[in-house]
Symmetry: C2
C-alpha cells in the first residue's frame, strides 16, 4: 500500500531508505535550499526515483540561502576539511533544516491523504545536528500528529543505526551508490577531505563496498 | 531586550500580538504563500512594522499554491460565504500551515540567536484548524527546543483567548485595525460574507470598535 512520502536528499542514507521502503512510497520530495551540493544531490535523487518508478518532486526553498548562515550554503571554500570534530562540523549546520523539511512534507502528506513521512536521520548525526536526534524526531512526530486531520506520522527507521549499518543494508538491497552524492563542497568529483566524504568512505568500507 | 521573532500575517490577531510584544520583537516575518488575500495582508503587515520600527521580512513559499489544495489558494470564488460552520470552513485549511511557518521562523531565530518565536493562534480557531490547537503548539515547541542548539521556544499567548478578547486588548493598546486585513476572498473591499469577515466584525463589535 502506497501510504508514505519520503524526504529524499540524494545522499546515501535517504537513497537507502527509498529502496528499503519502496513498496509504500507514493511520492519522494527533494528540497533545493541552495546548498553547495544541492544540484548534484537532486540529479541523484531523480535518477534513483526513475529506477524505482517513484514519483518525484523538487521544492525550491530559496529563502534559506538568503537568510541562513552556514558553510554548507556559502560555497566550497567555506566547508572545513576534516573529520566529524564537533566544533568543525557545526559550521555546516543549516538551522532547523529537518524541522522545515518535515513540516513541508507533512503538509504534502496531509494534502495527498498519505499517512507517513519517511526520513533517514541516523545515529552518526546526533552529536552535531540537534534536528537529527531521537527527542527531536519524537516531538516533531507529536506535532505533526496533533496538527493534521489525518494524524500524519514520522517513520525514521535509521535513527539508531550507524551510517555503516545503513550501507550494509543498502548492499543487501542492491543500491547503486555511484548514483548518490555526499560531498559538502559540491564539486564534480567529491573532495575526499570534508567530513561527509570521510564518513561516506568509512561507511562503504564497513559494508565491504569500497 | 529584543529576543523574539514574530510570525506576522497582517490580520487582526498577529498585528495585536505585534503591538503587545513590541519591546521584545527583533524581527517580523510574513509568508507569501499565494493565498487570495496575501498581497493585502503583506501591505498591512509592512505598514504596522513601519509604525513601530520593527524590521520586517517577507518570505515567498510559492510551492504551497502549486502543491496544496485549499479554497484559500484557489481564488475568491472558491471561498464559501457563511459563518464558521466546521465543514464549510474546512475548505479554507492550508495543510500544516502553522507547522511550516513556525519551522521556518524557528530556523531564522536559531540563525539570529533569538530565543523565542511568537505566534497569534487563538481559541476561536481550535475547532477548524488542528495546527492552532494547544496540543499542537505544545508539541511543536518541544520539537523546536530539541531541534536547535539555542533551545528556541514558542510563545503563543493568545492560545486560550477569543478573537473578541484579542480585539479588546488591541483597543487598549491603540491598534489601528483599519491597517489589518482579514477577508479570505482578498478583494479591495472585504466581502463581508466569508467566515473571517463575519468573525472580524463580531470581534470588533465585542470590543466596542465597530
Amino acid at each position: 500500500m502506497k501510504d508514505s512520502i519520503i524526504v529524499l536528499s540524494g545522499g546515501m542514507d535517504s537513497v537507502t531508505l527509498l529502496h528499503s521502503e519502496k513498496e509504500r512510497i507514493a511520492l519522494a520530495v527533494t528540497f533545493d535550499y541552495g546548498s553547495n551540493h544541492n544540484a548534484r544531490e537532486i540529479e541523484c535523487a531523480a535518477w534513483q526515483c526513475r529506477q524505482l518508478g517513484v514519483p518525484h518532486v523538487v521544492i525550491p526553498l530559496a529563502f534559506m540561502k538568503e537568510f541562513f548562515s552556514s558553510s554548507l550554503l556559502a560555497g566550497a571554500d567555506a566547508v572545513p576539511e576534516a573529520g566529524y570534530a564537533e566544533e568543525n562540523m557545526k559550521s555546516t549546520v543549516v538551522p532547523f533544516r529537518n524541522g522545515i523539511m518535515l513540516s513541508i512534507a507533512c503538509g504534502l502528506a496531509e494534502n495527498d491523504g498519505l499517512a507517513k513521512v519517511l526520513i533517514a536521520n541516523h545515529g552518526g548525526d546526533h552529536a552535531v545536528y540537534p534536528d537529527c536526534r531521537p527527542e527531536f524526531v519524537k516531538a516533531m512526530g507529536d506535532a505533526m500528529r496533533a496538527g493534521t486531520y489525518n494524524g500524519v506520522e514520522i517513520h525514521a527507521p535509521f535513527t539508531h543505526l550507524t551510517k555503516g549499518e545503513i550501507a550494509k543494508l543498502g548492499r543487501e538491497l542492491g543500491v547503486d551508490y555511484s548514483h548518490t552524492y555526499s560531498c559538502y563542497k559540491g564539486g564534480e568529483k567529491p573532495c575526499g577531505k570534508c567530513a561527509t566524504c570521510i564518513e561516506r568512505a568509512e561507511a562503504l568500507r564497513f559494508a565491504g563496498l569500497e
